[in-house]
Symmetry: C3
Subunit: 275 residues, 3 copies
């Protein structure tokens, strides 16, 4: 199985041509689009897409990510294994978060002298990455594709931070098709107590009180916060569009607090337990 | 073969992840997108998509439909067989019209305790429906997936009605990519005589006279009515956009009348024969 | 392998149904979308898509192109072989450029009496072309599908022309997802000397000086011209959108001149050599 995550869009021939080259190498490859609608050059969105997808594919899946504004420049092309999967793409950070999450990452810089078609300077998806995916899918060992890379380019994704005891600050990291606001606040980041059901989420100038179990718990048109399928806190409007309702988008600040906002921290020496 | 009809959109990771889970269950599944561009929560458009597609797939095809605003709520997940095909989706009406059309429908409520990944409350496409599709594709019997359901949720699609002898009223049910207006008036609904070639179609304030054989019969920019590939009466503008020309969209009223509008019904006792 | 290039869009059921019919004929067919986002009726864009894609697929691939405003009219349906690949689509010019480029083209007019489903007058992708693709993929000989066609409909694509010694005039033929302006000026058309690195490209009222190797050579926001992966001269803005920056789109005139514009042609009898 091979997945594709690119900023090629759906109108052009680029995604199809990449698939043609892969199938030319390995006619038995099974190709699955994750997204070709990554905004041009948006490494973060591609990184989140990979993070929220890779583990749901069978072991040995090859994940190709081509968001590559530096195509043709000396930036390195990368092939890697991590968590029992393979990852292929430019060394510009797009693969970094998923390699870190999958664990035990081994990466090589792809040797582009391996002959295949011509080597253009504008379409390495076709000329470098697709042939690499084809070779990996045929069982060619990763280490034979190029020299090991130990200093891959890093990409920092927004992380939530505690700004007061029990108060976490994060931001909107994605707006999905239904207008739901996916935040950087994860159940894991919220600590041992997990998500308090009675917490309040401030987003822009508005506050959503309480964290529910599912969208339809709220009345139609009413806001609801839930922990989504990737463990991220999400603000939605049941049968509505939270992004529009809250005038929010990627980067909008989100603050999670206990239900009754505290004006001062708890007295020293008296540890507070939220649960 | 597995088809997918969802309101996931093409930008997110959702459709890809559903495919990953299916391929994890059954690497030999052949996946075909019908549409991921169903407007959020639009059960009718998903139902029409299934109705106009299912019979063109080989027997035994599994059709997955995920338009599911009630995800995570107590609404039932459904798996069904009808007309030699399988259908999987939430019990909110989205599958009802195609099950009725395919005939001999047998439905079960999917037992979600069947273990697979975690069970989120926001993404049953991944956690409930995809594993069910995987199992069905491996030959697991439908009845082993859960308890029979006899009272599935119904969904009424717009039906044409006679408002005077020979005069049928319907509405626009879909606007396709070319701006063609697909109406609820079917050749079948128009009765034994079928579609009169000299009928007049009133749509909004305008009237199209005569029903043609194909789009290019009309001059470029001129309107033309045809019976389309799914037996629905359709109003088009050759090499143009009927939706724009007629200021029409889903729900716009359409009236089909004999060419010369009759002011009174035909005399009693003298049966009228349109053809 | 079967590729699909259509103006069906991604919202409707049309692309999925075509795939269903193909898989019904041949369950082993491997389907790859080139594009379903060809603007309605846009034969040129479909022709470019095929030209820039076909050679990257394995020999024997069947390329289906359905951009067919004349569907249902007496226009002929075509099946052809050229360059070791197969091509299927309406005889309206959409296949002409790729057949000419692939070479040794043999075409037949598809006999639509070959029974398959019903024959609608609005969806030959489903009723004529998909069954033809299915048959070809099963090894049915091309010549058994219908009578030879020697006078296929031609389609002229914009060709660059010399307007003065060393000065070539062309136009923008495509705008890709990143806003890059793909021009009709090809390395081949620029003659034996190929592309002069010090050339100037005038596009609308602005001029880009010099032809670079890759996008990221320019500063962020600065324009850069490159020869793209299909040998077309392309004007881009690094990490920007050239179409917006240059107020340019399909059809915008582009003039390539030597770096220092000449006011008069070189003296007669003294052949100029650019390289």
């Amino acid at each position: 199985v091979v997945t594709l995550t690119t900023d090629f869009g759906l109108a052009g021939h680029h995604a199809g041509v990449v698939k043609g080259v892969i199938l030319g190498c390995n006619p038995a490859a099974r190709l699955v689009d994750l997204s070709h609608a990554i905004p041009p050059g948006d490494l973060r969105e591609a990184a989140w897409t990979l993070l929220w997808s890779w583990r749901f594919f069978p072991p040995g899946t090859i994940h190709l990510a081509v968001v590559d504004p530096g195509v043709g420049s000396p930036r390195r092309p990368l092939a890697a294994s991590a968590g029992g999967h393979f990852f292929v793409g430019p060394d510009n950070g797009v693969l970094d978060p998923v390699l870190a999450a999958a664990g035990k990452a081994v990466a090589v810089g792809i040797d582009v002298r391996i002959p295949h078609h011509r080597l253009s300077s504008t379409f390495h998806g076709r000329d470098v990455f697709a042939p690499t995916v084809g070779r990996l899918s045929l069982g060619v060992p990763l280490r034979s594709l190029g020299e090991p890379v130990a200093d891959r380019v890093r990409l920092e994704l927004p992380q939530p931070r505690a700004i007061a005891p029990g108060v976490m600050e994060g931001e909107v990291i994605a707006v999905d098709r239904w207008g739901n606001l996916v935040t950087s606040l994860t159940a894991e980041a919220l600590g041992e107590g997990g998500v308090r059901r009675d917490a309040a989420i401030r987003i822009g100038r508005r506050t959503v009180r309480g964290i529910g179990e599912y969208y339809a718990q709220a009345a139609a048109g009413a806001p609801v916060a839930v922990v989504n399928s990737n463990d991220h806190l999400e603000v939605a409007v049941n049968r509505g569009d939270a992004a529009r309702t809250f005038h929010a988008g990627r980067g909008t600040r989100v603050v999670l607090s206990p239900a009754t906002p505290r004006r001062s921290p708890p007295p020293a020496g008296k540890p507070r337990k939220d649960r």
